[in-house]
Protein backbone atom coordinates (compact mmCIF):
# COMPACT_ATOMS: atom_id res chain seq x y z
CA UNK A 1 0.00 0.00 0.00
CA UNK A 2 1.46 3.30 -1.08
CA UNK A 3 2.31 5.65 1.77
CA UNK A 4 1.34 8.67 -0.32
CA UNK A 5 -2.13 7.36 -1.18
CA UNK A 6 -4.82 9.81 -0.15
CA UNK A 7 -7.50 7.57 1.37
CA UNK A 8 -10.77 9.35 2.27
CA UNK A 9 -12.84 8.14 5.24
CA UNK A 10 -14.21 4.79 4.08
CA UNK A 11 -17.92 4.66 3.27
CA UNK A 12 -17.94 1.15 4.78
CA UNK A 13 -18.43 2.78 8.18
CA UNK A 14 -21.64 4.41 6.90
CA UNK A 15 -22.87 1.03 5.79
CA UNK A 16 -22.20 -0.31 9.27
CA UNK A 17 -24.05 2.62 10.83
CA UNK A 18 -26.96 1.91 8.48
CA UNK A 19 -27.13 -1.72 9.65
CA UNK A 20 -27.33 -0.53 13.27
CA UNK A 21 -30.22 1.76 12.30
CA UNK A 22 -31.81 -1.16 10.44
CA UNK A 23 -31.54 -3.40 13.50
CA UNK A 24 -32.99 -0.65 15.72
CA UNK A 25 -35.89 -0.15 13.28
CA UNK A 26 -36.49 -3.91 13.26
CA UNK A 27 -36.48 -4.03 17.05
CA UNK A 28 -39.14 -1.31 17.11
CA UNK A 29 -41.37 -2.58 14.27
CA UNK A 30 -41.26 -6.23 15.30
CA UNK A 31 -41.17 -5.74 19.09
CA UNK A 32 -44.25 -7.91 19.68
CA UNK A 33 -42.88 -10.78 17.57
CA UNK A 34 -39.43 -10.54 19.20
CA UNK A 35 -40.99 -10.54 22.66
CA UNK A 36 -43.06 -13.61 21.76
CA UNK A 37 -39.95 -15.43 20.45
CA UNK A 38 -38.04 -14.63 23.65
CA UNK A 39 -41.01 -15.51 25.88
CA UNK A 40 -41.27 -18.97 24.28
CA UNK A 41 -37.58 -19.68 24.84
CA UNK A 42 -36.10 -19.17 21.33
CA UNK A 43 -35.73 -22.80 20.27
CA UNK A 44 -37.97 -23.68 17.34
CA UNK A 45 -40.22 -20.68 17.91
CA UNK A 46 -40.15 -19.32 14.34
CA UNK A 47 -42.32 -20.96 11.67
CA UNK A 48 -41.43 -20.36 8.01
CA UNK A 49 -44.58 -18.39 7.23
CA UNK A 50 -45.20 -15.86 9.97
CA UNK A 51 -44.42 -12.34 11.07
CA UNK A 52 -41.91 -13.92 13.44
CA UNK A 53 -40.01 -15.20 10.39
CA UNK A 54 -40.13 -11.68 8.90
CA UNK A 55 -38.79 -10.30 12.21
CA UNK A 56 -35.96 -12.87 12.33
CA UNK A 57 -34.96 -12.24 8.70
CA UNK A 58 -35.27 -8.46 9.08
CA UNK A 59 -33.01 -8.31 12.13
CA UNK A 60 -30.80 -11.12 10.79
CA UNK A 61 -29.94 -9.20 7.63
CA UNK A 62 -28.20 -6.58 9.79
CA UNK A 63 -25.32 -9.02 10.48
CA UNK A 64 -24.30 -9.61 6.85
CA UNK A 65 -24.82 -5.89 6.19
CA UNK A 66 -22.35 -5.08 8.95
CA UNK A 67 -19.84 -7.56 7.53
CA UNK A 68 -20.10 -6.07 4.05
CA UNK A 69 -19.29 -2.64 5.54
CA UNK A 70 -16.35 -4.10 7.43
CA UNK A 71 -14.95 -5.87 4.37
CA UNK A 72 -15.40 -2.83 2.13
CA UNK A 73 -13.26 -0.84 4.61
CA UNK A 74 -10.56 -3.52 4.52
CA UNK A 75 -10.67 -3.77 0.73
CA UNK A 76 -10.23 0.00 0.37
CA UNK A 77 -7.48 0.13 3.00
CA UNK A 78 -5.51 -2.65 1.31
CA UNK A 79 -5.96 -1.22 -2.19
CA UNK A 80 -8.33 -3.90 -3.47
CA UNK A 81 -10.62 -1.40 -5.19
CA UNK A 82 -12.10 -3.95 -7.57
CA UNK A 83 -13.68 -5.94 -4.72
CA UNK A 84 -14.97 -2.77 -3.06
CA UNK A 85 -16.39 -1.58 -6.36
CA UNK A 86 -18.16 -4.89 -7.02
CA UNK A 87 -19.64 -4.91 -3.51
CA UNK A 88 -20.78 -1.31 -4.04
CA UNK A 89 -22.42 -2.08 -7.38
CA UNK A 90 -24.27 -5.13 -6.02
CA UNK A 91 -25.30 -3.20 -2.90
CA UNK A 92 -26.61 -0.34 -5.04
CA UNK A 93 -28.65 -2.70 -7.23
CA UNK A 94 -30.08 -4.52 -4.18
CA UNK A 95 -30.89 -1.16 -2.58
CA UNK A 96 -32.71 0.04 -5.71
CA UNK A 97 -34.75 -3.18 -5.71
CA UNK A 98 -35.55 -2.73 -2.02
CA UNK A 99 -36.51 0.93 -2.47
CA UNK A 100 -38.88 0.09 -5.31
CA UNK A 101 -40.57 -2.74 -3.42
CA UNK A 102 -40.61 -0.98 -0.06
CA UNK A 103 -40.23 2.79 -0.44
CA UNK A 104 -40.78 3.45 3.29
CA UNK A 105 -37.53 1.79 4.30
CA UNK A 106 -33.82 2.52 4.65
CA UNK A 107 -33.10 1.21 1.15
CA UNK A 108 -32.61 4.69 -0.34
CA UNK A 109 -29.84 5.32 2.19
CA UNK A 110 -28.31 1.99 1.16
CA UNK A 111 -28.35 3.15 -2.47
CA UNK A 112 -26.63 6.42 -1.54
CA UNK A 113 -23.95 4.72 0.58
CA UNK A 114 -23.23 1.93 -1.89
CA UNK A 115 -23.04 4.41 -4.79
CA UNK A 116 -20.51 6.35 -2.69
CA UNK A 117 -18.50 3.12 -2.21
CA UNK A 118 -18.39 2.71 -5.99
CA UNK A 119 -17.31 6.34 -6.53
CA UNK A 120 -14.64 6.28 -3.81
CA UNK A 121 -13.11 3.00 -4.95
CA UNK A 122 -13.21 4.11 -8.59
CA UNK A 123 -11.52 7.40 -7.71
CA UNK A 124 -8.80 5.68 -5.71
CA UNK A 125 -8.18 3.15 -8.49
CA UNK A 126 -7.85 5.97 -11.03
CA UNK A 127 -5.50 7.86 -8.67
CA UNK A 128 -3.31 4.80 -8.30
CA UNK A 129 -3.18 4.19 -12.05
CA UNK A 130 -2.23 7.85 -12.59
CA UNK A 131 0.54 7.64 -9.97
CA UNK A 132 1.90 4.46 -11.55
CA UNK A 133 2.19 6.13 -15.00
Amino acid sequence: VSATRNVPPSPGRWLRALTLAHAALGAAVYRHELRAIAAEGLFGTVPYRSDRAAALRFIGSAFPGWLVGRFVDTAIETGDYRSAQLAGVLGTLAGVGGAVLMPHSLSLLQVAICARIVLVSRGLAAEETKAAC
Partner: protein, 125 residues
Protein backbone atom coordinates in the same frame (compact mmCIF):
# COMPACT_ATOMS: atom_id res chain seq x y z
CA UNK B 1 5.13 -16.83 1.47
CA UNK B 2 1.79 -16.51 -0.31
CA UNK B 3 -1.01 -18.01 1.82
CA UNK B 4 -2.81 -21.00 0.38
CA UNK B 5 -6.59 -20.59 0.69
CA UNK B 6 -8.59 -23.70 1.61
CA UNK B 7 -10.10 -25.63 -1.27
CA UNK B 8 -12.98 -25.24 -1.88
CA UNK B 9 -12.67 -21.69 -0.49
CA UNK B 10 -15.09 -20.68 2.26
CA UNK B 11 -15.92 -17.52 0.30
CA UNK B 12 -17.02 -19.60 -2.67
CA UNK B 13 -19.05 -21.87 -0.36
CA UNK B 14 -20.80 -18.81 1.08
CA UNK B 15 -21.64 -17.67 -2.46
CA UNK B 16 -23.06 -21.13 -3.10
CA UNK B 17 -25.22 -20.75 0.02
CA UNK B 18 -26.38 -17.34 -1.19
CA UNK B 19 -27.45 -18.85 -4.53
CA UNK B 20 -29.08 -21.85 -2.81
CA UNK B 21 -30.91 -19.53 -0.43
CA UNK B 22 -32.41 -17.64 -3.37
CA UNK B 23 -33.49 -20.91 -4.97
CA UNK B 24 -35.15 -22.16 -1.75
CA UNK B 25 -36.88 -18.79 -1.29
CA UNK B 26 -38.19 -18.84 -4.85
CA UNK B 27 -39.74 -22.27 -4.26
CA UNK B 28 -41.02 -21.83 -0.68
CA UNK B 29 -42.42 -18.32 -1.20
CA UNK B 30 -43.53 -18.67 -4.85
CA UNK B 31 -47.12 -17.65 -4.03
CA UNK B 32 -46.02 -14.52 -2.17
CA UNK B 33 -43.55 -13.60 -4.93
CA UNK B 34 -46.31 -14.01 -7.53
CA UNK B 35 -48.55 -11.77 -5.41
CA UNK B 36 -45.81 -9.12 -5.34
CA UNK B 37 -45.61 -9.35 -9.15
CA UNK B 38 -49.41 -9.03 -9.43
CA UNK B 39 -49.30 -5.91 -7.23
CA UNK B 40 -46.99 -4.28 -9.83
CA UNK B 41 -43.87 -4.46 -7.61
CA UNK B 42 -43.74 -0.75 -6.63
CA UNK B 43 -44.52 -0.37 -2.90
CA UNK B 44 -45.93 -3.89 -2.96
CA UNK B 45 -44.45 -4.91 0.39
CA UNK B 46 -45.81 -3.88 3.79
CA UNK B 47 -43.76 -4.31 6.97
CA UNK B 48 -45.79 -7.32 8.10
CA UNK B 49 -47.58 -10.17 6.40
CA UNK B 50 -46.66 -13.01 4.00
CA UNK B 51 -45.13 -10.75 1.35
CA UNK B 52 -42.83 -9.13 3.93
CA UNK B 53 -41.75 -12.59 5.12
CA UNK B 54 -40.88 -13.59 1.54
CA UNK B 55 -39.06 -10.32 0.87
CA UNK B 56 -36.94 -10.50 4.02
CA UNK B 57 -36.12 -14.12 3.24
CA UNK B 58 -34.69 -13.09 -0.14
CA UNK B 59 -32.75 -10.00 1.05
CA UNK B 60 -29.83 -11.77 2.82
CA UNK B 61 -29.07 -13.82 -0.33
CA UNK B 62 -27.45 -10.83 -2.04
CA UNK B 63 -25.59 -9.88 1.13
CA UNK B 64 -24.28 -13.44 1.61
CA UNK B 65 -23.17 -13.48 -2.03
CA UNK B 66 -21.27 -10.18 -1.59
CA UNK B 67 -19.70 -11.41 1.68
CA UNK B 68 -18.66 -14.64 -0.07
CA UNK B 69 -16.80 -12.61 -2.70
CA UNK B 70 -15.10 -10.46 -0.07
CA UNK B 71 -14.19 -13.51 2.08
CA UNK B 72 -12.68 -15.06 -1.04
CA UNK B 73 -10.57 -11.91 -1.49
CA UNK B 74 -9.48 -12.03 2.19
CA UNK B 75 -8.55 -15.72 1.86
CA UNK B 76 -6.31 -15.00 -1.11
CA UNK B 77 -4.78 -11.95 0.61
CA UNK B 78 -4.17 -13.96 3.82
CA UNK B 79 -6.15 -11.41 5.88
CA UNK B 80 -6.60 -13.53 9.02
CA UNK B 81 -8.13 -10.67 11.06
CA UNK B 82 -10.91 -10.00 8.56
CA UNK B 83 -11.60 -13.73 8.21
CA UNK B 84 -11.77 -14.20 11.98
CA UNK B 85 -14.22 -11.32 12.32
CA UNK B 86 -16.38 -12.44 9.40
CA UNK B 87 -16.62 -16.07 10.47
CA UNK B 88 -16.94 -15.21 14.18
CA UNK B 89 -19.89 -12.89 13.56
CA UNK B 90 -21.31 -15.34 11.02
CA UNK B 91 -21.11 -18.18 13.53
CA UNK B 92 -22.79 -16.19 16.31
CA UNK B 93 -25.68 -15.02 14.14
CA UNK B 94 -26.13 -18.44 12.48
CA UNK B 95 -26.29 -20.22 15.88
CA UNK B 96 -28.95 -17.79 17.10
CA UNK B 97 -30.94 -18.13 13.88
CA UNK B 98 -30.64 -21.94 13.83
CA UNK B 99 -31.97 -22.09 17.40
CA UNK B 100 -35.07 -20.08 16.39
CA UNK B 101 -35.53 -21.89 13.07
CA UNK B 102 -33.97 -25.38 13.39
CA UNK B 103 -35.20 -26.67 10.01
CA UNK B 104 -33.16 -24.32 7.84
CA UNK B 105 -29.88 -23.83 5.99
CA UNK B 106 -28.29 -22.03 8.94
CA UNK B 107 -26.47 -25.26 9.84
CA UNK B 108 -24.49 -25.03 6.60
CA UNK B 109 -23.50 -21.46 7.53
CA UNK B 110 -22.39 -22.70 10.98
CA UNK B 111 -20.23 -25.40 9.34
CA UNK B 112 -18.63 -22.90 6.93
CA UNK B 113 -18.00 -20.41 9.75
CA UNK B 114 -16.26 -23.09 11.85
CA UNK B 115 -14.18 -24.13 8.85
CA UNK B 116 -13.36 -20.48 8.18
CA UNK B 117 -12.33 -19.84 11.79
CA UNK B 118 -10.05 -22.89 11.65
CA UNK B 119 -8.49 -21.64 8.39
CA UNK B 120 -8.00 -18.13 9.86
CA UNK B 121 -6.30 -19.64 12.89
CA UNK B 122 -3.93 -21.60 10.67
CA UNK B 123 -3.15 -18.44 8.70
CA UNK B 124 -2.18 -16.63 11.88
CA UNK B 125 -0.02 -19.51 13.15
Amino acid sequence: VKPIPPSPGNGRLLQLIGAGHTLVGTVVYRKELRAIGRDRVVAAIPYKGPKATAFWFMVPSTLIWIIGGLVNRAEHAGDAKALREAHGLGLASAILAAACLPVSGFWAWIAISLRGLYAARRLRA
